[in-house]
């Protein structure tokens, strides 16, 4: 059996809405994702897939249960340690790219490297290498508003990759793209998984997008059902 990159045991997540109302988003969720896997999380709105993604990415903490990602018990880490862990292990790709509008593509990609001790020249070189990997090096000096949606998402993927994370966490990465651009981005993710061994967890509503993954997990009302 291959080594797990993500391991959830009996994980629950509850939010308090208003003064008294408690909303259970996830309940008793147990999940293993092997290292090097490409998993698509699907399900209707409100099913808890983004909450699960946030837990895997270390953006949120479970109310109950154990969550281990890249060998670290995330449910035991404090805010500062979680920030440090995210910087070292997770690459995030968002639906709306979330690039800094005032920075060039290259500067955007360099952002995660600011948290390392790399010298400026090395940071620039690594950023350019990441942009080359996603096939958009020729747009390195362009700002996000000068890029198409597909190009912006490629820059976002380069930013997610540049620090060589253990796992890529993608929240609806093609949700804002046309079919052609979406397919290009999904092919890129697939390549990163197949050729570079990157573990990827992707939330999507799009069944066609989910087909690019090795495995599809369906969620409904906070529970998990593998397809």
């Amino acid at each position: 059996m291959s080594e797990s990159i993500v391991s959830l045991r009996n994980v629950g997540k509850r939010y308090t809405r208003g003064k008294q109302q408690s909303v259970h988003v996830l309940e008793g969720l147990t999940l293993e994702i092997p290292k090097g896997d490409f998993v698509a999380l699907m399900g209707p709105s409100g099913s808890g897939k983004t909450t699960l993604l946030n837990l895997i990415g270390g953006l949120d903490k479970p109310t109950s249960g154990e969550i281990t990602v890249a060998g670290e018990r995330l449910d035991r880490l404090g805010g500062s340690a979680l920030s440090h862990w995210r910087a070292n292990h997770v690459g995030f790709v968002f639906q709306f790219y979330n690039l800094m509008p005032m920075l060039s593509a290259q500067r955007n990609v360099e952002l995660p490297l600011l948290l390392t001790n790399l010298p400026a020249a090395k940071r620039r070189a690594n950023a350019l290498a990441a942009l080359t990997l996603v096939g958009i090096a020729d747009r390195a000096k362009h700002k996000p508003n000068e890029l198409s949606g597909g190009q912006a998402q490629r820059v976002a993927i380069a930013r997610a990759l540049v620090a060589d994370p253990t796992i890529l966490v993608c929240d609806e990465p093609t949700g804002d793209l046309d079919r052609k651009s979406a397919d290009e981005v999904l092919h890129l993710l697939q390549t990163l998984n197949r050729d570079y061994g990157k573990s990827i967890v992707m939330v999507t509503h799009d069944p066609k997008a989910a087909e690019f993954a090795n495995r599809q997990l369906h969620m409904d009302k906070g529970a998990l059902a593998e397809a």
Binding site: G57, D60, R86, A87, F94, P112, L114, L115
Partner: protein
């Protein structure tokens, strides 16, 4: 330093807003530089005429009240007084009230006994002054300012002293020019115009036999305080009681007659900075509010709270620092102009220096609330809010 490009880019995210905020900070610090320079000049009178070995004796109740000329002899006989002279405020200008001239009627012998080390005057010109009743010794700077030459006849208008014919216009003959022995006194002597007390006393329509104040050179500066008391004791319980003080204190007291300049200037600056505090604070708050998704992304990428705090404070420091450097730089560049406007006042850039400390303090204050907000930002909520 590696975060500087990020902070710089963030600062110019909304160029127009940043430019206007920067301009308001520049203007505030320009004003600070100008007013503090003036305040510093007034509260730090330079040496020279206000040297440690000089005392000034005025009427106890006001400098506008005169003293009898006969007091000079009693002061001169006081042990410890090396020399004494007498002067009056002439209140003069040349042709136009804005052309202020620091005209002083002096006793040609005793004045140079007191100020024996202050002037460089050619011997023949000094002699010409002693020999000419309407003669004047003026500073070279004053001659240059008004285009006068030795040998010229110059009319001055006194705001106080009428002549016997009722005229306020007095005519003098420039017989010599002087330069300061100590270059540090150049600005103090720049407007000086010395003429004979004898001519003044004979020509004036009122106040004959009186003087505005006495100035003494003391043999031992360490005895100045005791000597001041001794001089004042001479005239205690007389109709013309005196107040004797070191020349430096006199200069400060004279300036304070105009009002508490320091308080007025600081009140103006306080109002300016108080307003600016809200303006810049609001701009910073707005800037952070608009960047909540971006800050959430930085946090997602692993930027910790101390780094986020540093980025927001750094942005504020950069903005205020640039404004302060530009504003204070402009006020420094304006020093020669102010010096010209405040004729005779010595200016120093030392008054500007505290502005940099104020800029840092200001930046920290205006960035506190936005920085706290940025640090407290919940990533999940912030990212969800943009959907």
């Amino acid at each position: 330093m590696k975060y500087l490009p990020l902070v710089w880019a963030t600062l110019w995210r909304k160029k127009t807003r940043t430019v206007f905020t920067l301009l308001s900070i520049v203007v505030a610090f320009l004003l600070f530089g100008l007013l503090e320079t003036v305040d510093y000049a007034f509260s730090h009178p330079s040496g020279g005429n206000s040297g440690a070995d000089r005392l000034i004796t005025i009427n106890k109740y006001s400098i506008t009240l005169s003293l009898p000329f006969s007091d000079a002899q009693q002061i001169k006989n006081t042990k410890g007084v090396a020399a004494v002279t007498w002067l009056s405020w002439f209140g003069a200008y040349y042709q136009d009230p804005k052309n202020f001239v620091f005209a002083l009627p002096i006793d040609s012998d005793s004045y140079f006994d007191v100020y024996n080390d202050d002037f460089v005057i050619a011997g023949d010109q000094m002699q010409a002054f002693r020999n000419t009743r309407t003669g004047v010794l003026a500073s070279s700077a004053l001659l240059k300012q008004f285009g006068w030459n030795v040998g010229d006849k110059v009319p001055l208008h006194s705001a106080i002293w009428t002549q016997k014919d009722g005229s306020l216009d007095w005519t003098f003959d420039i017989v010599g020019a002087f330069d300061p022995k100590d270059p540090a006194q150049a600005s103090q002597q720049a407007q000086l115009f010395l003429f004979h007390y004898e001519m003044f006393d004979e020509g004036r329509n009122f106040g004959k036999g009186t003087v505005g104040w006495f100035e003494e050179r003391v043999a031992d500066p360490g005895e100045s305080a005791a000597l001041s008391n001794k001089i004042d004791a001479l005239f205690a319980n007389s109709p013309n009681e005196t107040k004797t003080q070191p020349a430096k204190d006199f200069a400060l007291a004279f300036i304070k007659q105009l009002g508490d300049i320091g308080f007025i200037l600081h009140a103006i600056l306080g109002a300016v900075f108080f307003t600016l505090l809200f303006l810049t604070g609001n701009t910073m708050m707005q800037s952070v509010r608009e960047r909540i998704p971006e800050l959430a992304v930085l946090k997602t990428l692993g930027f910790g709270n101390p780094t986020i705090l540093g980025l927001v404070i750094g942005e504020s420091l950069l903005l205020c620092g640039m404004g302060a450097v530009l504003g204070l730089g402009l006020s420094y560049a304006a020093l020669p102009g102010i010096k010209k406007a405040l004729q005779g006042v010595d200016l120093s850039p030392d008054g500007i220096a505290p502005g940099f400390a104020i800029a840092v303090l200001f930046a920290l204050i205006v960035s506190v609330l936005p920085a706290v907000r940025a640090v407290r930002l919940n990533i999940i909520d912030a990212l969800a809010a943009q959907h």
